[in-house]
Symmetry: C2
Subunit: 365 residues, 2 copies
């Protein structure tokens, strides 16, 4: 049988056990209210306090200045693929720059092209999206509408360890799969978005952090729901928000602050977990082949292959028999992917590392 | 302390106790899978089966023919306010007709006007939205792009008991607050939408039923997420859907089929509940004043006033002391509103009726 703590799914991903216990309690009855969270009005004082505390916690975790607003929206990262160019590109007469570094950044580009001119500054497809561009490979234009990139590509298992782009051009980052996994320098970002279902909570809510100054000029004629100002003015309760998902996000931010102790510590834990798995790959003498270039390895998604599809199928079958799940690579790439988001414990990662060594020993013998 | 079974909230509203128990179990571990539902991949076979069964159950409950597709989307009814005119009005050269019968239908109109010509066929504001138009008051045009109306206005407590519009013009209905509360004649509708948080499940998912033929002509240039075809082709898993919310919808549809026994029975129960409360109003000799005209009374939201704001405050305070909640009227209208969606039990409604009589007796003495 599969076990929650051995769930290496690419997302929706594992959540902390303490958060699951509190979420479960809330389904029956939220202690402060006495009602099931599924039947509490989004216009209640209690829910306004949930949103306010979730926002405050994210602000504290990221050391986010008041120049940036925090919004909780629906529609996933995919709706942001459209809302961002509607705000920043439509009617601007400028060109938006996109880095095409993998499956997800590639999805954002055609949506932007519906709203204006797009220039793909870098395209990693010919190299299998195994590596990310260095700063010297990006000819960023000072008059671009904005630069868009994805900080962590979940499918290929690559992650930026520095910040691309030039300051002065709005920097827009899809942090869906590494949000709150490490500290960031928030001043260098103008818009950050992250759906919840990796590090932050259940599917159904997306966090957007936007520099307030960007909202001073908004094209006319946007649907109210696609205009960030609607959500800002209504403190994320413009229409009925996904109450339960936002509450779980609050629980996760409390866990990060109080149990983990902040993002420096979370990042240290995440580095340790990733190193354990990459070590298992690197010491396997080629039995496992990591997909990403060494310098661009993701600390969230460890993607690798075995020498044959049959061996990969055997690996997944044996892993499943021991309670591991979610290890099959994304359907677009195949292979193996171990997603080790914030809530994945070092003990579970160590168990996977040991399994990988055992499997190697058995098959190499 | 508030009690789930006495939660008369306008929405998110009460859900059946058996559904809450199953949802709670799923947070810890979905029995068939062994993992928390919050960490199960939306690409899993299990979740595809959840979507398929939820769709099948809704189809069975509504006796919906295959000419109509069922989709599970995000963004609430509010996003439908835009997606519908993007599909049916944009570039059509036609005019969309809207009935303005209350707070919610009024919200839909400006969003449609962003996409093309809109004609408000009927506007009930001058009459306080207390009554709905009769068929002889609607000068429907045979060449309209579509007719849009809201079947049940939650704020004012009115509900259509027949179907407005003319067959041959696409009929679009916001059924957010009475979906699955009674049988309908699905052939007479071309597009139905309903957010979940009244009769169907938690906030965060919206059901759309659309006649497939409407999707044969879709304007070019729609963002993929706002194009119904994306969701149709992907069986509602175009991007990461709100997994938990859709699962709870499935549980509610099972409850409707197996515990309630279908929509005829649900409608009978709902009629009985509404009659009990309207009787308490009508027999109060003017102590309680119903808002809606007699013929247009909602079976979902019973809206009434007392003779003074002070008396209303006293009513709410006494009710809260006895465990009732969610009875304050919508902030735009004030007064009292008892929302008695599917999951509200006749026993709880009887308790409220008795409370209303007691309160009358006490204050009239």
């Amino acid at each position: 049988m599969m076990k929650n703590d051995l769930n290496f799914s690419g997302g929706p991903g594992v959540l902390p056990e303490s958060v699951l216990a509190e979420a479960q309690q809330a389904i029956a009855s939220v202690p402060e209210v006495g009602l099931s969270i599924l039947g509490i009005s989004h216009r209640s004082d209690w829910f306004a306090a949930v949103v306010a505390e979730a926002e405050r916690n994210i602000r504290e975790l990221l050391k986010l200045p008041d120049s940036h607003a925090i919004l909780f929206l629906q529609g996933g990262a995919t709706l942001q693929f459209s809302m961002i160019p509607m705000l920043l590109l439509r009617g601007s007469g400028k060109t938006a720059e996109y880095l095409r570094t993998g499956y997800w950044s590639g999805k954002a580009i055609p949506e932007a092209a519906l709203e204006g001119d797009v220039r793909v500054l870098w395209d990693g497809e010919a190299q299998g999206f195994r590596r990310l561009p260095g700063a010297d490979e990006l000819a960023c234009a000072a008059d671009a509408a904005y630069l868009h990139y994805v900080s962590n590509e979940t499918v290929e298992g690559t992650q930026f360890h520095d910040i691309p782009g030039i300051d002065g051009v709005p920097r827009v980052c899809d942090m869906s799969s590494d949000f709150l996994s490490r500290p960031i320098d928030p001043e260098r970002y103008d818009l950050i978005y992250a759906h919840a279902q990796k590090n932050l909570g259940p599917a159904g809510v997306t966090v957007v952090i936007v520099r307030r100054a960007l909202l001073e000029r908004v094209p006319a004629g946007l649907p109210a729901l696609l205009d960030y100002r609607s959500h800002l003015n209504a403190r994320s309760i413009f229409n009925t928000p996904p109450v339960f998902a936002i509450y779980v996000v609050l629980l996760v931010t409390r866990w990060l602050l109080n149990d983990v102790g902040g993002l420096e510590r979370m990042a240290a834990v995440n580095r340790g977990k990733a190193e354990a798995l990459y070590r298992a790959i690197d010491q396997s003498q080629g039995f496992y082949e990591g997909w990403a270039a060494l310098n661009d390895r993701s600390l969230m998604n460890v993607v690798f292959r075995l020498q044959s599809a049959q061996l990969e199928a055997d690996f997944l079958e044996r892993a499943a028999a021991e309670g591991f799940s979610g290890l099959a690579g994304h359907r677009s790439l195949g292979g193996i992917r171990a997603s080790i988001y914030n809530a994945m414990t070092p003990a579970a990662v160590a168990a996977l590392g040991a399994f990988m060594q055992d499997f190697t020993a058995q098959r190499s013998a």
